[in-house]
Amino acid sequence: MTAVLTSAAEIAAKIPDGALLALPPEYAPCSMEGIRALVRRGARNLRLLGVPQFGIQAELLIGAGCVSEIETAAVTLGEHGLAPRFTDAIKHQKITMRDTTCPAIHAALQASEKGVPFMPLRGLIGSDILARRDDWHVADNPFGENDPIVYLPAIKPDATLFHGAKGDVHGNVWIGLRRELMVMAHASKAAYVTVEKIVDGDLLSDPQTAAGTIPGLYISAIAKAHKGAWPLGVPHYYERDNEHLSHYAELARTQEGFDAYLDEWVTSRTAAE
């Protein structure tokens, strides 16, 4: 049964230090309230998996010292520029970065969905991404001749954390088009979700919503967090707060500025208002 919790803090308490934590891209709803709760609880040594790329989620966790490793195809604040805390952490070797490419992450999660040990993927051969990954293998296509292909080990995250527009009391979570969230829930040992609202009834009983819904079967816990993706957006519900993100990018150029940001927007507050 999915646990219906009362706050993002309770969600953050379930994600242990050292966990391999899969997080969504900024165009799918991110549980920024869950991220802030992880910072507040002082999470440590998290190993982040960006599915497939990161922005402010990784920035906050890295800047706050919650992260030891990160695997992702990119970390960027998009039009607001480079991700300053990530960049600083790499330059000063505070975290281990495992560079990859977007479809390699999707494919390795699909391997876990299927319960197979690896997934083959085209591309990659001749890149420094592959040259620097001793956990990947190049082998011949067993059905072909002289056809090298990369084998990626399955990635099975300990937990995934994301946000949804709505959930129900059965733990079903409506995600609409954002199907990468479905893959992440399938592939991870535990899925934790904050939602804008918890609706009455059953999202799976109506075919209009069922197709875009992750069944509660895959969801470990949900909690309501109004505006829980802010300063990112929820497609068709609310927009990214570009002014705030630009303010963040400016402050986070230095650790002192970042710490001031955390004081004002994260640690001095208890939950979404």
Partner: protein
């Protein structure tokens, strides 16, 4: 050059150059951090009379895909994407691209976002157009510090795709696969061959015959499209770019 043309911004010229290369295609996809190619793809769609399908990553209205972030890559693998766009903090003369770091990757002098989908799509999509507005010996180098994705591969490697051209703020290069080299194709307004040689860190080939042609400027009605409906449509994904180029909405 007419007064109207002299007001063409470098970005608009690059949009027009890229749009020309998309003529006749069926489906063009645009990845992250690609406002110029995104605008070019939307312009090409307008000029195609609606036959060109454009997929813009990060867009939430009128989606092309319904199967999440993996669908772009699976769709490309099925041969359903004709053109894609890549850039690099460094691009070299063999069309290798670097999106990761400068210097030793373990102790980089500078770190950039990362390789995104390049290490896959560069191999798979038939026509990959490279773009980089800053054309200096710093960005166009003899050898990249880190290969996010190689320009060319061994003969036996499955590689239906690869580099087609490189569009910069100074010129257009075509990539000649057999020679594994760029060919200078046209010069943007105000540029000379000497300028290009001075500002380019890699060797490239010159066209046979007399001189290098000038880059064709955008048609006046193209400029209207770029500054009108194309600019408004790209604003959904690139609001800062649209405001800088075309003003507030």
């Amino acid at each position: 050059m007419s007064d109207v043309m002299s007001e063409v911004r470098t970005e608009e010229l690059m949009i027009a150059v890229i749009a020309r290369m998309l003529s006749g295609l069926s489906h063009v996809a645009v990845g992250a951090a690609s406002p110029i190619p995104g605008s070019a793809a939307l312009l090409a769609r307008e000029l195609s009379g609606g036959t060109l399908r454009v997929t813009l990553l990060g867009r939430t209205s009128n989606p092309t895909f319904t199967d999440g972030a993996r669908e772009l890559f699976d769709c490309a693998a099925q041969g359903r994407i004709d053109a894609f766009f890549l850039s690099g903090v460094q691009i070299d003369g063999q069309a290798n691209i670097n999106l990761v770091s400068i210097g030793d990757p373990d102790k980089p002098k500078a770190r950039f976002p990362g390789s995104f989908g390049s290490a896959y799509l560069y191999y798979i999509v038939p026509r990959v157009i490279l773009f980089r507005q800053e054309h200096t010996a710093r960005t166009l180098v003899s050898k990249v510090d880190y290969v996010s994705a190689p320009g060319v591969s061994e003969e036996n490697l499955y590689r239906p795709g690869g580099p087609h051209a490189l569009v910069t703020g100074r010129c257009l290069f075509e990539f000649i696969k057999d020679k594994e080299r760029f060919l200078l194709k046209s010069l943007h307004p105000g540029q000379t061959v000497e300028d290009i040689k001075r500002e380019t860190g890699f060797d490239f080939d010159m066209p046979e015959g007399s001189g290098v042609p000038n880059t064709e400027p955008p048609e006046p009605d193209w400029l209207k499209l770029i500054r009108g409906p194309v600019g408004e449509e790209i604003r959904e994904v690139y609001p800062e770019f649209a405001t800088r180029m075309f003003g507030s909405s």
